[in-house]
Symmetry: C2
Subunit: 211 residues, 2 copies
DNA sequence: GTCTATACCCAGATAGAC
DNA sequence: GTCTATCTGGGTATAGAC
């Protein structure tokens, strides 16, 4: 519905501004994820989204505001994925089986890799705790995830801890692009095989994708 | 020995160039850790080390070479800490007690936080896997740590995995500067209490330290 | 809403004196 | 070895047309 487009007289494609904003946000997520906040340029985001550089600046009011918007969207998607895992587990398994629940959360988390840059731009934000504007925002986001797992999902404290640790390792290995070395180094293959027991294809599909 | 300094006639302090290099490397570690590769400026490193900006550029041949030097030093120190943990455990505990060994490694790892920026600049490198020069270097470094834990320390595969995950979570929480919110949010305190059962003081000491 | 053109600043690197 | 001065490129943001 909101993705409806209208064709302009000249054959070019125009779209509703909310959709364009979503598109730019997605492009920004990818660019910030790959190069980090400081390494990313508003120009790279603009090119990835197919719009002009001054436009993306205007759209969000500045680079930093854009990054914070990416961060918020990312957190929403992660919490959403955890919520879905919770529902799914309630339907298909014993609600008290914590192992099954944790596994289900892990699967849904790995699926988030399909939204390219999502987990990486989050990780980039997490390393900017020293930044006076981004830092507080990032900390609040992390605690939001922590509390959701503890209070809404209802995992015991040590399980929350475990899930988070596993998540950070996944983010790191993805950030490293360790898949790129999977054919050259048995250690890389071993580690990735352990980390992605069921979903290795998700990772492999990220090797030679488009920019 | 190599830290001997000689006082110049004008009262200023000169030192051997290797020492100066080590000093700059340490400063660079802090700056890269706080702001990331792209966010860090050679000028900030120079000021932190008390030398001129062109000098640090010359000293390493460029910003990127300096970052790679920081990365190498960091990996050496981490492997060194693990080696010490291994020795310590062999002396004081049953060499086959994997739990004791893992715990000992964890303690030595947390001690590395005293070298400010060390674990963070490493983490920053790990998120730059997409960079054509830094990426391969960072991947090789990660696998070096992985292999050391597996082959030299002799941890079973699932333990290596666990130790790495825990390490990445520690790095993340430090990068977030989560300690800054420890008084304001019980969730922050809870998480940190779990993550640093014995060594919370190491973290707390990092709150209002010098720049 | 979206573009082109451009102002302005900042950072990495070089030249060259001491 | 180490500094000061400076060139140069590139990146954010603004002005203003369409």
């Amino acid at each position: 519905m909101s993705s409806m487009t209208t064709t302009a007289p000249d054959g070019g494609t125009r779209m509703r501004s909310e959709d364009r904003r979503a598109l730019v946000l997605e492009a920004a997520t990818r660019v910030f994820g790959e190069r980090g906040y400081h390494g990313a340029t508003t120009d790279a985001v603009a090119r990835a989204a197919g719009v002009s550089q001054p436009y993306v600046v205007r759209m969000f009011g500045g680079k930093e505001a854009m990054f914070l918007a990416v961060l918020d969207r990312t957190l929403d998607r992660i919490i959403g994925a955890f919520g879905e895992a919770l529902d799914e587990n309630r339907r298909t398994a014993d609600p008290d089986d914590v192992d099954a629940l944790a596994m289900c959360i892990g699967r849904n988390y790995v699926d988030l890799l399909r939204d390219r840059g999502l987990l990486l731009s989050l990780m980039q934000a997490f390393l900017l705790g020293a930044d006076p504007d981004i830092g507080p925002h990032a900390r609040a986001g992390f605690r939001r995830v922590y509390r959701y797992l503890r209070d809404e999902v209802g995992l015991p404290a040590d399980r929350v801890h475990e899930v988070l640790a596993q998540g950070m390792l996944i983010n790191t290995v993805v950030g490293l692009k360790m898949v790129d070395d999977i054919d050259d180094d048995p250690a890389a293959a071993e580690l990735l095989g352990q980390l992605f027991p069921t979903k290795l294809e998700v990772l492999l599909s990220m090797r030679e994708s488009a920019s």
